[in-house]
Symmetry: C2
Subunit: 202 residues, 2 copies
């Protein structure tokens, strides 16, 4: 599917076919696309929990305002981020770079995040957001639909998925087969209100 078509036809779907299952090949194709999303310094700080087990999905639904998408989707992808990713064998993130460039980057990565603990969490949110959109567009391109979700108890979800220390939950993306087309967009702001040229108006 054309990229612009996927961008415009990606909509947040509330009603998924609860009987639909993805093949393992489709799951791999979606997740392989998601991890081509950029991360700062290539630290690849996202972590994904692909939930297909129905009992696990239901547990998230139970701590997510009972939203049907959590359990009726085919894949519930919990998008997380590891605040410590920058420091885990950092060299491998630049293994293919010329040695000198690689060493310089590794040093920059360590210095920057060592000195900026709060930047590690921000990086998880940024990287996770970029990967979430990649996943949703890839799903659309395969003929499926999705729903980005943050309305659930993150602390409870951490327990349900055994979230490791130093990891943050960013959001979830429900992916599946839509039972009915999306409603019209809720109310789109005009471009001129959200896009400014060169600076914000004073």
């Amino acid at each position: 599917m054309d990229t612009f078509t996927a961008i415009s036809e990606r909509r947040s779907i509330k009603q998924f076919d609860p009987d639909h299952r993805f093949s393992e090949a489709e799951i791999e194709q979606l997740m392989a696309a998601a991890i081509l999303s950029p991360t700062a310094f290539n630290i690849q700080n996202w972590r994904f929990v692909v939930i297909t087990d129905q009992a696990q999905k239901q547990k998230i639904r139970d701590i997510g305002w009972n939203q049907e998408q959590f359990s009726h989707c085919s894949l519930l992808v919990l998008i997380c981020g590891d605040r410590d990713a920058y420091n885990q064998e950092t060299e491998r993130y630049w293994a293919n770079a010329p040695a000198e460039t690689g060493q310089m980057l590794v040093s920059m990565i360590r210095q920057y995040y060592d000195a900026n603990p709060e930047a590690r969490r921000d990086e998880n949110l940024r990287s996770g957001g970029m990967a979430a959109q990649t996943l949703m567009l890839a799903a659309k391109a395969l003929g499926y639909d999705s729903c980005p979700m943050s309305g659930f108890d993150f602390a409870a979800a951490a327990g349900i998925v055994n979230l490791p220390a130093e990891n943050d939950i960013v959001m979830a993306v429900a992916v599946g087969r839509a039972l009915e087309p999306a409603r019209p967009r809720g109310g789109q702001l005009p471009l001129a209100e959200v896009v400014h040229r060169d600076r914000f108006p004073s």
Copy 2:
């Protein structure tokens, strides 16, 4: 361009053609795509500063480790978020919904963000990340390249673009015509290391 092709061929480019300029129609096409990205409750909290003025780009470069992309790109898009978006005529975000649904959503939006000030900033990072990836994929689909950038002094950039109170800078995206193809990916982690099934391993 096919969506999966755009996802795999989007790479962070360091060297842009400094003489290339986008047409106004292209700029509008890119930004119109970016604002089709999802936001929580459709609050459309992203704000974009599209910098084409060369002096403005240079100012960001001056507070961004002198990285050439800041001034050699054709468009430098500063992606921001408005923490107060949720509370600005909230009804319009659901103007097209049935009246009862719209009223319920407006009430939920206000209650949630009123009670969770820190969630307003997180939402900016998530929404901004999703929009950044949309912009980069749209640019790729038009035959251009991009570079996501967060290595600059956000506080100084806020002054340069006249960032309003209650707004956060999320990141920047440089967009332009690449002077040379991207190098091989720096060192991609295997899928099995970043994707888990149902829960993290214990």
